[in-house]
């Protein structure tokens, strides 16, 4: 039965993407979608417009949802394996707090001082700043937690709390300094949104998913053995320190890239791996790829709601992921209560 989970998830993902492609505020009827793709004859004036909506707006957004959902969920699974802690998610290594601080700084300070100096900020400035912020805070944390080539997981967890508190203080200060318009921008960034998706953004973060797909099979065995404990994994032939380093760099880069494009989207990285562990067990060989698939499907579905429920306005996607996922997760938890102990 476990073998069936990946293909079923793939089908779910493809179905979700197909449905998402047919729904949107521009309201393109089903028949015209076929025409837009050149599969059926249609009114040429409408075909051009429909094609633009589908190709330049809807499809890049779906692609972005798939990639970001996959990145966040896989990173969450890696983090939980590495820290042997069910509450771990990419935020734990400082990715979200660093990215959020840098993004807010770009929104408030960059807007106020750079623009008034006559510099027109390119649209890429915000995601780039967020990415650099994510990497920087993870690297600082890694330095703090590492002594003589050994990385302490406990130091990582506690140092992460301190870094997050510092970043939050900075964020609070920026919120205080912001005017109404900047406040709206910060608020939307903190709750996440896939609005403004372009193929350029898809192209910029797709390599991270490819890299993740290459590395995951190599770290899956190590993570499986790490469950037994660091010493036990070491004696079983796992290079524990290298595994930790690989995981941290991987998560910082992949989750940092995802967050920099979409803003902070909570819940996906935390809950998707959990959900799957309840379904298929703890083996990372299966867990990591299925987490990516389920994360992608969840985000495609959530984003379809985010862009249509309040149309023509957009809902922050973080609200939707939590509303969809949390009750389902609770249901699974209650059903499996006996397995989790008293």
């Amino acid at each position: 039965m476990r073998v069936l989970v990946p293909p079923v998830l793939l089908v779910v993902l493809l179905l979700a993407a197909a449905v998402a492609a047919t729904i949107g505020a521009a309201g393109i009827p089903f028949g015209r979608i076929a025409a837009a793709f050149g599969l059926a004859p249609g009114n040429p004036a409408l075909v051009d417009r429909d094609w633009l909506v589908l190709w330049s707006i809807r499809l890049p957004r779906i692609a972005l949802a798939i990639i970001i959902g996959g990145l966040l969920a896989a990173c969450g699974a890696v983090m939980q394996g590495l820290f042997r802690n069910p509450l771990a998610d990419p935020a734990l290594v400082g990715v979200s707090s660093g990215a959020a601080l840098a993004a807010a700084a770009m929104i408030v300070v960059g807007d106020r001082y750079l623009s008034s100096a006559g510099v027109t900020l390119p649209l890429e400035a915000l995601p780039l700043a967020a990415f650099v912020g994510a990497l920087a805070s993870t690297m600082i944390l890694y330095r703090i937690a590492t002594r003589e080539g050994r990385t302490s997981v406990a130091m990582f967890l506690l140092g992460g709390l301190a870094i997050a508190a510092l970043a939050n203080a900075g964020l609070g200060l920026l919120v205080f300094l912001a005017d109404d318009r900047q406040l709206r921008d910060i608020n939307f960034w903190m709750l996440g949104s896939l609005s403004g998706a372009t193929w350029a953004k898809v192209g910029a973060i797709a390599p991270f998913l490819v890299a993740l797909a290459f590395v995951l099979p190599f770290i899956a065995r190590g993570l499986d053995l790490l469950v037994l404990g660091e010493m036990e994994a070491f004696h079983a032939g796992v290079s524990v320190e290298r595994l930790k380093r690989t995981c941290v760099v991987l998560v910082a880069a992949a989750a940092g890239a995802a967050v920099s494009v979409s803003g902070v989207i909570g819940f996906v990285g935390l809950v998707v791996p959990h959900l799957l562990r309840l379904l298929i067990g703890p083996s990372h060989r299966l867990l990591l790829p299925t987490a990516a698939l389920l994360g992608a499907a969840l985000l495609v579905i959530a984003d379809t709601f985010a862009r249509t429920l309040a149309a023509p306005a957009e809902l922050p996607i973080g609200i939707v992921t939590a509303v969809i996922g949390a009750p389902f997760f609770l249901y699974l938890l209650l059903r499996q209560r006996a397995l989790l102990g008293p």
Partner: protein, 326 residues
Amino acid sequence: MGHTAMKTNIVQLSFVVVAVAWFGAPGSSGADNITVKDAAGRSIAISDPSRIVSVGGAVTEILYALGLESRVIAVDSTSLYPPRALAEKPGVGYMRQLSPEGVLGLGPSLVLAAEGSGPKGTIAVLEAASVPFVQIPDRFTGDGIVEKIRLIAQATGSVQRGECLVKLVEADLRALAALRARIEHPRKALFILSFMSGRPMVAGRATAADGIMTLAGASNAITEYDGYKLINDEAVIAARPDAILAMERASFRLDAQTVFDHPAFATTPAAAQRELISMEGLYLLGFGPRAARAARDLALALYPSIDASLRSELMPSERAPQDCRQ
């Protein structure tokens, strides 16, 4: 140093109190006790309109237009017109984040603040300290401007100057209405507040942007929600705006390249002529005495087909700039 400053302020404050008690409010036209009804519907008694903290761009603009400049002791950071206001007067920070001690320390006898100023805690502290806090209503219509001027004039005991300014504004509004009557096919405009990272934050109903579009004889392309919200890209295409509006500030400028390269805006009718109209923020959205002129400028930008004769015609306030400051 802080002690000295506070001491000075207390001395100033007591001086003002004494002065008021003995001579009545200096410079006010027989205003021993004024009672006004503010935007929150409260009746507020004002005994001394001589030391005013002005909060909100339009409020400061009106106070200066009424020649009450010398009575203004501090302004907030949105008081961008006339430019000398922010340069000469001490600042009390952003209108929504007023600090009670910061304002009280200046020893004001009256705070005139645009609706929505605050926070509530600060208002409560100021009122507990017997400083009247009058909220000036902010309605985005021609009548709304007149309402603002009348309330500010009344609260400062300058009713005559107020009526002078009202007359001028009403003449401008009539000229604007005549201009609007020449518009045959109203166009749809879409106002972008922010375009951070390619995400358009767009004005819906009940916004200053919506109000100025109406005054300029255009209609808002987005009527499905109130306020400023992040809008769905596809909804921009579906709304088919004929022109894109944006405000220009020292800190915010949007160029046509950025907007019309965005896939959602590339197919709008506005993209065909690359119609991006960018105007100074307070001028366009302030709904102060210059709002009719801003609406005229916007209408001329939106409707290039309006006759040349009307184009060069000036607004009454420009043709015969009556000074209401005396």
